[in-house]
Amino acid sequence: MARLVFLGRLEDVAGADEITLPLAAPTPLDAVVAQLPAALARALGDPRIRVAVNGALVAGPALIAPGDELAFLPPVSGG
């Protein structure tokens, strides 16, 4: 199981601010995204979206382990 967190407008695309996804073994990030509904997977493909694993930003390919929290952060709209 992994916990997926969606910030900003991604929450509307996902239909919830977080979901859990069955995950039995460490899985590459793009394979995790591929398991999601097509519209959501497409939205997450935006290169401006940053990804944080367990609260830390990652750049490039990442391996998601069971129990991880994966957050998708779209461009910020400012405070």
């Binding site: 900003g8 944080a52 461009p75 400012g78």
Partner: protein
């Protein structure tokens, strides 16, 4: 002193500023900026979201970088999260310094970075419907005013 807080209940600028001023009685100047929820155009509410692992640490780093860049006696950054009605205080930035120009610059710098380089997402309720606010082009231009310290 460095004060950095995210608040999920009402921000009281006068009380916060009085506390900050009392802690910096020796400063020659104290500059503050208060941002409030913009009204009009059918706006009913603003909802400000954050990502706990990054938002507060990012603002703490911003306060530290302002303190490193100007001679400050202290800096305070208080930011609301959650849902707010028009005119509600949303952000208070204050800097205390021996000389006013350092305090003015530090507050201006902190605000430009809060608006365009901090982990906040906001949506507006207009005429009963929520809509996410996208970044503005001007935000990047605001940031470009501050050259990296070399």
């Amino acid at each position: 002193m460095r004060v950095v807080r995210l608040l999920d209940t009402a921000l009281d600028p006068a009380a916060e500023l009085a506390r900050f001023a009392a802690a910096h009685a020796g400063a020659g100047g104290l500059v503050s900026f208060l941002g409030q929820v913009r009204g009009g155009e059918g706006i009913e509410a603003l909802d400000l979201r954050h990502f706990p692992p990054l938002t507060l640490p990012g603002i703490e780093a911003l306060a530290d970088s302002a303190s490193a860049r100007w001679r400050l006696d202290g800096i305070a950054i208080l930011h609301r999260i959650g849902e707010m009605p028009p005119a509600a205080p949303i952000v208070l930035v204050a800097a205390a310094a021996r000389h006013r120009r350092d305090a003015f610059s530090a507050v201006d710098y902190a605000m430009d970075h809060l608006k365009s380089d901090s982990w906040f997402w906001k949506r507006e309720k207009r005429d009963g419907a929520w809509r996410w606010i996208e970044p503005r082009a001007e935000d990047g231009a605001d940031l470009a005013r501050w050259a990296p310290v070399t």
